[in-house]
């Protein structure tokens, strides 16, 4: 303990406005030596990394959430304020505050630098994006600025390889003395004085940016571009990921087959091939899709386009009781509701935030895709429509559209019910456009992949094994007729649930699959595979054949009903868990669970009865 304490020489915290390039700087300093977690009780990301200075000191770096002011209006800003002031219960007071400011946006960022300085703690200022400032003709007299501020100032270019060397050296050197606190300082007046003293601003604003914005934010072209971007993303996620997915599927299938051949027949072989490989393998196939979606989301985020999309959609989403800011969390929810719900922390208004959290599960997350793909493949003919579109693709598009329309509808209804009719704030900054840096994309991507893989190897694996156990034991008595699964626990549970779900056309096999499907949606497909593979009593009834089984055993009405069920399906347990953590209570978990179940049942009932009546 003492040895460790001796080597950790200092704890520093990066603090600054949103969009100051703080996280890129954090990545430059720490590389891949990062740990991402959450602050207890709130879903605010806690990012910590470490690096060793040239003199061999180990430095722990905390990347605090961006803040405009210590007059906090969001949970992020509260965390930043509490940690900087040393009030946070779990975070030690940092030895050094590294305030990061965008050199191209000093008028806004210097105000916050001054607010941090008023804390009177050892700090230094990192003037980030000095390259962009130079290109724009902004000249900063760094020595003068440091003298006027009374704190050390270093220049950084976070996206360049050696861009943080000066900062590293400054952190390594003797810690700066605490700055003097000026009583009753007018932050704005002081900012203006500093700008006059140390900064030469060009007369012109960034013309290129304004020109881009004139097109991107145009009422007609802007929306057309947004539509094209969305279309490209979905096209890519569904078409480009396919070869990778097929390769993964073939890989897991061959390993499963090899294991089946290598192991003697018996429970262990059954567990590994019918349970683990049929279950986890199916889910793992979605990794390429999720990663590809995140490549796009991260690129759009880093480039500064996402706030523009929020600007374009704000009025529409506001009418539905959401906010333009809801766009980013809802877009992320197409990959998975968990990062989506976590992204709602950027929404300052608590009511907008709750509304976004509650409708995020209606966005078609990629975990629903296995279910959709299976059922569409089984029940929707592969037919050309109008010589241009594929009927299967159109149905898939319809399912996505139904999710979005339902989300807007549910949000509108919730808005009606809300008692608090106070004003909702937008106040959204549109940052400068930037080229996304590959390193920052990779680190972001790795974080997402780690979250997904952790899920697969923990909750999904456990559930798969549990389901395998339930559907394998107790074994059928000797000389019994009918499939073995009929006698198992799962069979009994399925039969017991059947009366409730018969009106919406679900047979007992579907009922069994629904149980783990609540835990994690994508497991529903692997569960069906497990259930039918076991019922068929043969190991080679692989998932690829599931589509055929389903098509022959289920009616069209049942297939469509299950498709519609999964638009609303009471979401996975992980989503419940994140809603609970995010809202700090069970109330909204209960609201979400009940309304989703009610919607799913009602919509499936309607679909089933209508289809039966029509066919």
């Amino acid at each position: 303990m003492t040895a460790a304490a001796a080597t950790i020489a200092s704890q520093i915290a990066l603090v600054g406005n949103p969009n100051c390039g703080k996280t890129a700087l954090f990545n430059t300093l720490t590389g891949s030596r990062q740990k991402v977690a959450n602050y207890a009780g709130v879903t605010v990301e806690r990012k910590e990394g470490r690096f060793t200075t040239d003199s061999g000191r180990l430095v722990r770096v905390l990347d605090l959430p961006g803040a405009y002011s210590f007059d906090a209006t969001s949970p992020d800003e509260q965390i930043t304020r509490d940690v900087c002031k040393g009030h946070h219960p779990e975070e030690p007071k940092p030895d050094l505050l590294v305030c990061v400011a965008d050199a191209t946006n000093l008028r806004l960022h210097l105000r916050f630098v001054l607010e941090v300085r008023q804390l009177g703690q050892p700090m230094l200022l990192a003037l980030n994006m000095m390259d962009a400032a130079a290109r724009r003709g902004i000249r900063i007299d760094v020595a003068r600025l440091a003298a006027e501020l009374g704190i050390p100032v270093v220049e950084t270019v976070a996206v360049r390889r050696h861009g943080a060397d000066a900062l590293r050296a400054a952190i390594d050197g003797t810690p700066p003395p605490s700055p003097a606190v000026v009583p009753d300082l007018d932050l704005h007046a002081e900012t203006r004085r500093l700008l006059r003293a140390a900064v030469q601003l060009p007369m012109q604003h960034a013309e290129l940016e304004d020109a881009i914005d004139r097109v991107v934010l145009h009422p007609v072209f802007g929306l057309a571009i947004l539509g094209a971007v969305m279309f490209l993303i979905f096209q890519a996620v569904f078409a480009w990921a396919a070869p990778l997915q097929d390769a993964l599927a073939a890989g897991t299938a061959s390993v499963g087959a090899w294991l089946a051949a290598a192991l003697p027949d018996g429970p262990l072989q059954s567990l590994l091939t019918d349970g683990v490989f049929a279950g986890v393998g199916t889910v793992l196939e979605f990794l390429p899709q999720i990663l590809l979606l995140f490549v796009f989301i991260l690129t759009l985020e880093e480039s500064g386009y996402l706030p523009r999309a929020a600007f374009l959609l704000d009025r529409l989403m506001f009418a539905a009781g959401l906010s333009g800011r809801s766009f980013i969390p809802l877009l992320s929810s197409f990959a998975c509701a968990i990062p989506g719900i976590m992204a709602t922390r950027s929404i300052q208004d608590p009511r907008d935030r709750i509304a976004t959290i509650l409708v995020a599960p209606l966005m078609t997350c990629s975990a629903r895709l296995p279910v959709y793909t299976l059922l569409i493949g089984a029940f929707v003919p592969r037919r050309e429509v109008a010589g241009l579109f594929n009927l299967q693709g159109l149905v898939l598009f319809g399912l996505y559209a139904a999710g979005i329309a339902s989300a807007l509808l549910v949000a509108t209804i919730m808005k009606r019910w809300r008692r608090d009719r106070g004003e909702h704030a937008l106040l959204l900054e549109l940052p400068s456009y930037r080229w996304p840096h590959p390193r920052d994309l990779l680190i972001g991507l790795w974080e997402r992949a780690a979250i997904f893989l952790r899920r697969v190897t923990t909750i999904i694996l456990a559930l798969t094994v549990l389901l395998w156990f339930l559907s394998s034991f107790p074994a059928a008595p000797a000389g019994a007729g009918g499939p073995a699964i009929d006698y198992s626990f799962a069979g009994r549970i399925g039969h017991w649930m059947e009366p409730l779900f018969a009106p919406i056309g679900f047979n007992w096999q579907i009922c069994i699959a629904l149980i783990p499907g609540i835990a994690a949606r994508e497991v529903a497909v692997s569960s069906l595979a497990t259930v039918y593979a076991l019922a068929a009593g043969s190991d080679d009834a692989a998932i690829s054949q599931l589509s055929g089984i389903v098509a022959s055993e289920w009616s069209l009405a049942t297939g469509l009903s299950l498709l519609v069920w999964y638009i609303y399906a009471p979401m996975c347990l992980s989503t419940f868990a994140v809603i609970r953590r995010e809202t700090n209570g069970w109330k909204h978990v209960a609201i979400a669970a009940i309304y989703l179940f009610a919607l799913a049942y009602a919509a499936s009932l309607l679909t089933y009865q209508l289809t039966v009546w029509l066919t």
């Binding site: 191209t104 806004l108 929020a310 004003e423 106040l427």
Partner: protein
């Protein structure tokens, strides 16, 4: 004149932010974002529906404000 009344391409100098009540967080945040007396602002764009939100440049930063937020900012007209 209020910022919400400025046409696209127009602008002015901020006189102050009017708080709608004793604890108006939006007004405080507007001041934190740089809407303080003496700053030049200009209206760059409107959202596609109902001319909302309003994209405003203050200093070197750009913010999207809803009309009700923009209505809190009082301006002095600037001759172009």
């Amino acid at each position: 004149m209020k910022l919400s009344e400025v046409p696209r391409g127009g602008g002015g100098i901020v006189v102050g932010v009017e708080a709608l009540g004793p604890n108006d967080q939006i007004a405080r945040r507007l001041r934190d974002l740089g809407f303080v007396a003496g700053e030049a602002v200009s209206v760059l764009a409107f959202g596609p529906l109902g001319s909302e939100p309003v994209l405003v440049r203050v200093g070197d930063a750009r913010f999207a404000l809803r009309r009700a937020e923009a209505a809190r900012v009082c301006l002095q007209e600037q001759s172009p």
